[in-house]
Amino acid sequence: MTSVLNDIHVLEIGSDLGAWCGKLLADMGATVTKIEPLSGDPMRSYAPFYKDIPNKNSSLYFWHYNTNKRSVTLDLDMEEGRELFRRLISKTDVVIDSLPPGQLTNYDLGYTSLSKINSAIILASLSPFGQSLPYSDYQATDLTALAFGGSAWSCGYDDHELPPVRCGGNQAYHTVSHFAAMGIMTALIHRQFSGEGQFIDVNMHAAQNVTTEGGAYNWLIAQETVQRQTGRHASVAPTPPTQIKCRDDKYVNIGFPARTEEQWFQLLAWLDDHDLVGNLSDYLTPPNREAIVRRDPDAIKHMHLVMQAVEKLCQTSNAKDIFAKAQELGFQWGVVYAPDEAMEDEHFLARNMRIEVSHPEQERFFAYPGSPYKFELTPWNIKRRPPLLGEDNDTVYAQELGIDSTNLTELKSQDVI
């Protein structure tokens, strides 16, 4: 089958901020070549490692973010290295750059220089705070970006003596990469019509700021401030708990336990199966959410009784069974899985969310997470495991740029590549 981006050549330079963007394009068929320093992308030194043994090619962190990519080594601090980069640009459609702001320009490889070589080039520069704005010279990581940009304010516990919480999994890097990928795809479509490339300045701090839902809207519209709560949406006024422990000490998230009259009677019937209805039989409707938020005492008492009963109900089964039963009744409840539990769930397995990728060096297949979207004609695909450091030097420099073996040997001996 064809892939969407099989005609697109991408150079990826930098590290943490842009790697997920490069993977999104590579997994849809783009030829993404990582330009790595001779010591390797810093990500190659990040734990965890295969069998916990660190080396340049064993970082699982690197593996996760670099499927389908090629790797070449190149020292941009040397003029010969920069010259090779310029030669690559004439065969490139997109550059994903997450070097510190201004560094490409200092190398004389900024957009103005690159567009003289290739006027159709699309350069997306990802940075913590934009290219030239207040804080552009400040340092940031996933943690500090989520703290500064509003996510952490909304994540944590009812007890505000406990610190706000960083959401796990590198979401600040993912979010800036999502904006970069949207921008690159938009620029590629514009190029189809106009033939022109462009520069895209992608700002991680802005990306966090516009990805916080209620935290932003309540302030923008009503100048109200949400407060973090355990396991549920941060809210201007406190809302009832939603995360309930089940018999196996795992949790379900129940949102609002019943939203309609129909759901209310279904919930009562389920409670009745376990003799847990009690005084709730007096109520003909589910608790009134709006009345709870405005602290109406009757509504709060009603909700309190429901929560007591639901807590007992959840103690009758394991979290996964509670989840399945609730969904069967049409309730928006969810089991709280650890990532490894999700990877084993039959639904995700049925949707090919566990992809076996061949690693010839280990003579094994390893499972990677599958695709966010299923394209009917041009499927997402992992054709190749992440690259070994400098694995594609010969392909790229000799075959594609036509550098002869004498010159290639010299470039290697001078540590240009």
């Binding site: 734990a47 965890p48 295969y50 962190y61 996760h64 207040p134 340092q139 500090t144 500064f148 996510s151 952490a152 304010w153 909304s154 994540c155 516990y157 919480v165 960083r166 999994g169 979401q171 993912h174 949207m182 921008g183 795809m185 620029a187 514009h190 895209i200 992608v202 700002n203 701090h205 802005a206 700021n209 990805t211 839902e213 209620g214 809207y217 302030w219 923008l220 519209i221 009503a222 109200e224 949400v226 973090r228 396991g231 939603t242 995360q243 969810g334 709280v336 650890a338 990532p339 490894d340 999700a342 639904h347 969310m353 390893f366 997470p369 966010p372 979207y373 394209f375 009917e376 004609l377």
Partner: protein, 417 residues
């Protein structure tokens, strides 16, 4: 029909948009800002009730109504809106007309809803052979959970993201907002753009089944491969401390108390050099016994004690004092900003115009989320607020679909539009 306006990247593209909420509307809002003509289809009978945000808060000046939902306004900038009774034969005929002149159909109902109603992909392909049809749902359109109901917190719970966010010996904190509704929208936009790019190259439309839980599963990051490759399930070691950094290991790394009520500072010490700078600063300010933290291994072994030591320094200072002091040394540090601080006072966010003002026909001027990237050739346009219910009926029915005004009057009187 394909006249490309050079100032807007997606000008010739028309989207027949059945989607709503945030996961769907968030995708088409981006495309609308980049110049696509997005026509939102809303149900006349339920007065736009397909989208729960139509009339829900926050509200500007506490004015309520189906045109006054603050979130709806945010998610539907730059779109056209029409109303229609999609259960009537006449309404369905009009919709087929609209699809026949559209490039993309988007929807985010639960699996099966569009098919039952006669507007599934196969039916639409008969109307427009190269139509791109993108469905976005919580659990996708195949697999055992395809009929399950979800919203952001359920997606985050079932995929592993909730579990990965929290403090040890506590229940999961999760994400205090619908991160996966934002992110599902971003990935849906990427999918639409990729499918469009493929169509421009080949003339082929296609169907895309986007699942927010699939997307979220892959966003768990390197923890997944630590399980699938190294066999180390995160569920076996208990609730992770997501304020710390395991991948890669860093210490100090956390969110620390600052002076003032509920004030916090995030600090990430990435390297031995950064630790030396920090420990020199601590030493100059009279903190003793720093030698025992000389190496990363030392610091990881005594991380609780080290965090107390860092807190003893941070709690005497405001979060911004600590941030500026540490950033001057080149150490990533950031205040946990509340909504007012990050939206109204942050010089980077103000300079970027991350929250531009739009004009809403009934709410007047309001601020909404902007974008996290800036294009040099095809800037975004964010000026018009969310559409009122049926606001663009006249334009769309008369100017785009060329329906005779007399017929329209009749359709209106019999309740079709």
């Amino acid at each position: 029909m394909n006249t490309h306006n050079n100032a807007a990247a997606l000008t010739p593209i028309r989207i027949c948009d059945f989607s709503g909420q945030l996961a769907g509307a968030g995708a088409t809002r981006y495309l609308a800002a980049m110049g696509a003509q997005v026509i939102r289809i809303e149900d006349r009978l339920s007065r736009g009730g397909w989208d729960m945000f139509r009339g829900t808060g926050p509200y500007k000046d506490d004015r309520r109504g189906h045109n006054l939902g603050g979130m709806y306004n945010n998610h539907n900038i730059e779109k056209l809106g029409i109303t229609l009774n999609a259960k009537s034969l006449e309404g369905q005929e009009i919709l087929r007309e609209l699809v026949s002149i559209s490039d993309v159909v988007t929807e985010n109902f639960s699996a099966g809803v569009m098919e039952r109603w006669g507007f599934g992909y196969e039916e639409m392909q008969k109307v427009k052979p190269d139509i791109i049809y993108v469905s976005n749902s919580g659990f996708g359109h195949s697999g055992p959970y395809k009929s399950f109901k979800s919203w952001g917190p359920v997606v985050q719970a079932v995929s592993g993201l909730t579990y990965q966010s929290g403090l040890p010996n506590m229940p999961p904190a999760g994400l205090g907002y619908s991160y996966m509704d934002h992110t599902g929208g971003y990935l849906m936009a990427i999918a639409i753009l990729m499918a469009l790019y493929h169509r421009y190259k080949t003339g082929e439309g296609q169907y895309v089944d986007m699942s927010c839980t699939d997307a979220a599963l892959a966003l768990n990051g390197p923890a997944l491969l630590d399980y699938t490759v190294n066999g180390r399930p995160s569920s076996s070691v208990g609730q992770p401390n997501s304020n710390r950094s395991h991948y890669p290991p860093m210490a100090p790394h956390g969110i620390y108390k600052s002076r003032g009520n509920d004030k916090w500072i995030a600090i990430a010490v990435r390297t031995e050099e950064e630790w030396k700078l920090l420990s020199n600063l601590f030493a100059m300010q009279g903190i003793k016994d720093l030698d025992k933290y000389a190496t990363l291994d030392n610091r990881l072994e005594q991380e609780d004690e080290l965090d107390n030591l860092v807190t003893s320094w941070t709690e005497k200072r405001t979060s911004y004092e600590s941030m500026n002091t540490l950033q001057r040394l080149g150490i990533p540090a950031a205040s946990v900003q509340n909504p007012e601080e990050r939206i109204d006072k942050d010089p980077n966010i103000l300079a970027w115009n991350a929250f531009p003002e739009v004009q809403h026909a009934e709410m007047g001027p309001t601020r909404v989320e902007g974008l996290a990237m800036k294009f040099t050739k095809t800037p975004a346009t964010i000026g018009k607020g969310g559409n009122l219910l049926g606001e663009d009926n006249k334009y769309v029915y008369e100017e785009i679909l060329n329906i005779d005004p007399n017929i329209l009057t009749n359709l209106q009187s019999i309740g079709v539009i």
